[in-house]
């Protein structure tokens, strides 16, 4: 899937399948390339929809590495219909919730909330929070470069970088972590911000 319309079509197919397979109503928060495409921030194609978590009682975000059985069946059936992998709609990104998300993430995503049939509602992560998560993903010592490329395309502004640094600044971290983060921020052209936020 490469365009907003294609991603929304896939989610519509999933919403219909969920209704047919008797899956429970679900509201999820999506991140990653599909959310970036829906927001018009990325041009590359993606064939995955990454779910960060399930929205509960409109204010909490629960991890969802495994979905309910009916939901998994609906995902697989929709994938078959669309020629996508069985796990095209997956919750592997919800491991990020171990560290929490930036404050106000769910509220900001309300602006990008959309229903796909009677069972499925999706909030797409706001640009500001996408930058924070991408920056963290770019810290991957083995394969961070691909996330850096996405970050370059998103072209974050200083306010978004400060938002990301404040989120990560609250964590206990090693010298190597802080040093690499500083190098990435400097590489993106925001070296002056590191001094103020990461001191």
């Amino acid at each position: 899937m490469r365009r907003k319309e294609e991603i929304e079509h896939a989610l519509t197919v999933l919403g219909r399948r969920m209704a047919l397979d008797g899956a429970p109503d679900m509201e999820v928060l999506c991140c990653g390339a599909s959310a970036l495409c829906v927001l018009g921030l990325l041009t590359r194609s993606t064939m995955d929809v990454d779910v960060l978590g399930v929205v509960v009682r409109d204010r909490d975000l629960n991890p969802c590495e495994v979905f309910p059985e009916e939901m998994e069946r609906a995902i697989a059936n929709a994938g078959l219909e669309l020629g996508l992998a069985e796990d095209w709609f997956n919750g592997s990104a919800s491991r990020l919730l171990e560290r929490g998300v930036p404050e106000g993430t769910l509220e900001r995503a309300l602006v990008h909330r959309k229903s796909f049939g009677p069972c499925l509602t999706v909030r797409f992560l706001d640009r500001k929070d996408q930058v924070a998560l991408k920056l963290f993903a770019a810290m991957d010592p083995v394969d961070g470069i691909r996330h850096l490329k996405d970050l370059e395309e998103i072209s974050p502004d200083p306010e978004e970088i400060i938002h990301s640094l404040r989120w990560m600044g609250n964590w206990k971290s090693s010298d190597a972590f802080r040093s690499k983060l500083k190098a990435i921020i400097t590489g993106l052209g925001f070296g002056d911000l590191v001094v103020g936020e990461q001191a």
């Binding site: 365009r3 194609s45 020629g83 592997s92 963290f136 010592p141 206990k172 090693s174 972590f177």
Partner: protein
């Protein structure tokens, strides 16, 4: 032929599936050509064959002609800020990428990897 695929654990006149695959690839490349960067166009790809190339998720991929996508194996990594650069957690996943000639595509196949599973299993 310049740029031809050469392969074969068994030389001489022995017929192998891998050699047949490589020969078929050479014919398709001769027919459809490569672009100036050496990327093999989609029309010259063989369904079910492995390709080495430049991709977002991996440098090798399996071409699935039925769905017009490359299938790759990759992982998402979640660094541990305290133990960094050690202690990362990995989630392994099958990924898909479109041919880079397509709009938004991310995998550029550069050469066939002439292997054949069934032959390897039989050991002939």
């Amino acid at each position: 032929m310049k740029g031809a695929v050469s392969f074969g654990r068994r030389g001489g006149s022995a017929r192998t599936h891998a050699k047949a695959l490589a020969a078929r690839q050479n014919i398709l490349i001769r027919w459809h050509g490569k672009n100036e960067d050496g990327v093999i166009p989609e029309q010259a790809l063989i369904d079910g064959a492995w390709y080495q190339g430049i991709g977002r998720s991996a440098p090798i991929a399996l071409w699935d002609a039925a769905h017009a996508v490359f299938r790759t194996m990759s992982w998402s990594s979640f660094p541990d800020p305290v133990l960094f650069p050690e202690g990362e957690r990995r989630v392994y996943r099958l990924k898909q990428e479109r041919h880079s000639f397509r709009e938004g595509g991310t995998f550029s196949p550069m050469r066939l990897i002439p292997i054949h599973h069934h032959e390897e299993k039989r050991g002939d």
